[in-house]
Symmetry: C2
Subunit: 573 residues, 2 copies
Amino acid sequence: MSFCAPVQDYEYIMRHIVGYGKVSATERFEEAGEELTSAILTEAGRLCEEVLSPLQRNGDLDPARLEDGVVHTSTGFAEGYKAIREGGWISVAASPEYGGMGLPMAVTTAVNEMMSAACLSIALNPLMTQGQIEALEHHASEEIKAIYLPKLVSGEWCGTMNLTEAQAGSDVGALSSKAEDNGDGTYAITGQKIYISWGDNDFSENVCHLVLARLPGAPAGTKGISLFLVPKFLPDASGEAGEANSLHVVSLEHKLGLHGSPTAVMQYDGATGWLVGPEGGGMAAMFTMMNNARLGVGCQGIGAGEGAYQKALAYAKERKQGRTPVAGGTGAIIDHADVRRMLATMRAELFAARCIAMANAVAIDMSHATSEPDWAARAALLTPITKAFGTDTGIKVAEIGVQVHGGMGFIEETGAAQYSRDVRVTAIYEGTNGIQSMDLVGRKLMDGGEAAHTLIDEMQRFAEEARATRPRMAGLIWNATETLREATEWMVSQKSMTARFAGSVPFLAAYARVLGGYYHLCAAVSEGSNGPRTKLARFYINRLLPEYKALLDHAMQGDADLYALDIEDFDVA
Amino acid sequence: MSFCAPVQDYEYIMRHIVGYGKVSATERFEEAGEELTSAILTEAGRLCEEVLSPLQRNGDLDPARLEDGVVHTSTGFAEGYKAIREGGWISVAASPEYGGMGLPMAVTTAVNEMMSAACLSIALNPLMTQGQIEALEHHASEEIKAIYLPKLVSGEWCGTMNLTEAQAGSDVGALSSKAEDNGDGTYAITGQKIYISWGDNDFSENVCHLVLARLPGAPAGTKGISLFLVPKFLPDASGEAGEANSLHVVSLEHKLGLHGSPTAVMQYDGATGWLVGPEGGGMAAMFTMMNNARLGVGCQGIGAGEGAYQKALAYAKERKQGRTPVAGGTGAIIDHADVRRMLATMRAELFAARCIAMANAVAIDMSHATSEPDWAARAALLTPITKAFGTDTGIKVAEIGVQVHGGMGFIEETGAAQYSRDVRVTAIYEGTNGIQSMDLVGRKLMDGGEAAHTLIDEMQRFAEEARATRPRMAGLIWNATETLREATEWMVSQKSMTARFAGSVPFLAAYARVLGGYYHLCAAVSEGSNGPRTKLARFYINRLLPEYKALLDHAMQGDADLYALDIEDFDVA
């Protein structure tokens, strides 16, 4: 089985569903028309198929390891990284000023998803660097930019994010790493950070850590946090990696999956760092990095799901088992109704999630390329949805992929289980999906629900227009948007955040469910025939969409029933 | 964190929900009253807490391995098995004639679930032997029974099931292992079997394999299959394990989970075996074993979910993170609404699944102890539901358990991920959950839906009575049963099996969802106050029950949309 990059799917979505044409119509992205983006996606697809996909199993079977303080990466990863770097795939969206392609996030998003589908472990590495590039572009001094950005953009150096400490996970404000002013423009960073993805490697000349820490006398909580750039090797006078800094990898985690990606405990012992952004501005700067990382992680979920889907499809076409229940069947298990149902579910869910991610990327691009303020709000609204729904979809799809394989799915050699193990972390890192849902019903509804309602209006208008050509599907989508509108109003009307949070996860899931249905309807309308997209849209809208009702029932329960449970009521006896 | 056997929960369910009193009122089970069953469950609980639970991590960290043809089991498993054996826990339901306790399946079911919660890998071993005991009790000659049953019942010898071959998984009828008559009452068995759970071990004196094979000239398909008992060591004149038979373990599988349970490829090279049941009666005999094994596997799912729940609960009570959103909180993450929602979901789902399994066991007991024919039909109806819903629940709950742990959930040392990995196979073996759902809408509705409707009637009558005391919850359950009735009628009316199969998985899920709601309502009514069970019932009925509508929408789509998709429509480009 060989991986096939779903380039046509991205192109279709960009052209016909999420209005990428608006992006390439802007001055900023005028060069990124259909021809160029098509050539770029095709080229990236080739890298994924030929170079990265063969590394997928290596990462699992030959995990990154720490020996005598040195991280050794999985067999072939150094060559894989070199190919990513040389193709310019780390810096598709980075500013041309420092060597990037300066292309829209929509293109980056497709490339990142493909790389994740081919080999999630290695794809996580450039995602971290991309976040760092963006944070430095926005918040670093010109001096820092001049030294670091060319190296990061070219991929000679890699970037990481250092937020979490043992006592400070979802609650970043609880962190206690310290920074002291050295009086020479540098700071001494001391503390221990955990869960540092790609905290070190043996294939880049340097590893640059963005570290959250507190200056002396800083206030408690997130307001007292500043951001520091702390490289493994201090740049010398010529800007090359020089003397080793006072930091090291303490250990690598033994994880459920993603074994090819070293997850480090990092120790900083008065390591030399540079302030990025203002004192106390660490969280703001980190959020620049995190928002795009959240879109990126959503795409990791979708990508891993795509890999799992292709593997399951290949198996279902090849495995002969049981009588063929249909005339003219293939004789393989894809003939069985339930296997078809599983495969169609995987494909329909991935399409929905991919459209959401692409719409998110387009909103980011439009917010960068125009001065229309609604685009930033749209991007902010979609980010937690892309992250949570993209990763939940990846987990669900990979899980179905295991089931399609039957007994073989439980055997590691098959590789189906690896998708399921690898993708699992995507619902946890970059803010758990619970945190994403709290972000959606909290921060992202602080505009009184305006951004959420604007998108619902858009869906509803489209459904009204679509009644002419797709009456049944359009009617179902219209009804769904109406129920979603009422639930959104209910959410906004809750003054108690706890009442919102008591239903935030199902609310996010329902919003994504309806949004996915809307994009499927867009596909059916634009296809204009009874083609594959229309058939898949019908499957999604008839079979998967109806979940939104139960999810919204769940979302609007409030918190009383949860807090009526005493702690002892949870106990087992 | 230490495992706590949920003995009070089983007792409550037996006494107040599933009518265990009917079982102990029969002559056959008159000794198994409340006092005895309570003492037995308490004693089994102690074994699980003190002996088996400490083995859970060993199985994962120190997997069973094959060295020079010999299976070495995980550290401590031999002692664990000895304790299970000596406590009589293999043969709770086995006939006293051969040394069993002769107790109801309801008791066995609770004991099996507890053992699975404590250590799933080791608990799978006695489950296999239990199935073999039952198959031999029903189908073997007196001579075979006299030799084998005392050894199996005492646990000196273990049992396995050998159905699957590389080309014959869900389609058992495709198997090609051969049996030839030796002319001396024995048969020579030749072939290779895969996925043989506990195919060998280093702690029992013998391992007895029930092997499906074909006699010369047997018809193709399942009708040509006979069942043979093929021991690792041939019994000598005194009935002890004697000369080695011509069979061996070829290899052990490298699996996603359940590492403590050796999954063998077994090779039979003219191995000596004895026919069990009539020629060509292999499938019928195997179904005796499989039906109870399916109930047992359902309980494995529930048990593993229970283990995962307790681990997540302990973590949620201990982990401090973020501000407490409620007055008088504990300061730990259990104070957060979404964490509570997750924990309550786990507990409510487990309660629903446990009640279904217990009701299934009671139906089996009543079918054994009385001549009322409805009980066998009830047991047959519930078996695929228990298996599929029990294991899907285990998987869902273990998955939520990982999420409750945040980043720690992805780190193997925590142990949360192990529950998720271990339980995954339960949706696959003993007939995939897809096969269970086909069994439900196919074979189990061949009575025109009578058994399914009888249970719906029972639920509906109860909901009508419950309106007096629990009007809101009862109303929701009544509505659900009515929709379920219509969907069941729709299913029965489909002449095309493919049309049924196209919705079988969501139909089974919906039936279980509603049934679980009914049992929650029973708990709320029987508790009669606003106690913990009532609060949990409210949570389930308000938040989880509504799923049934979308599931039934999905179930009643028919197969047209699935087969409208051409094979090429699934392809990626």
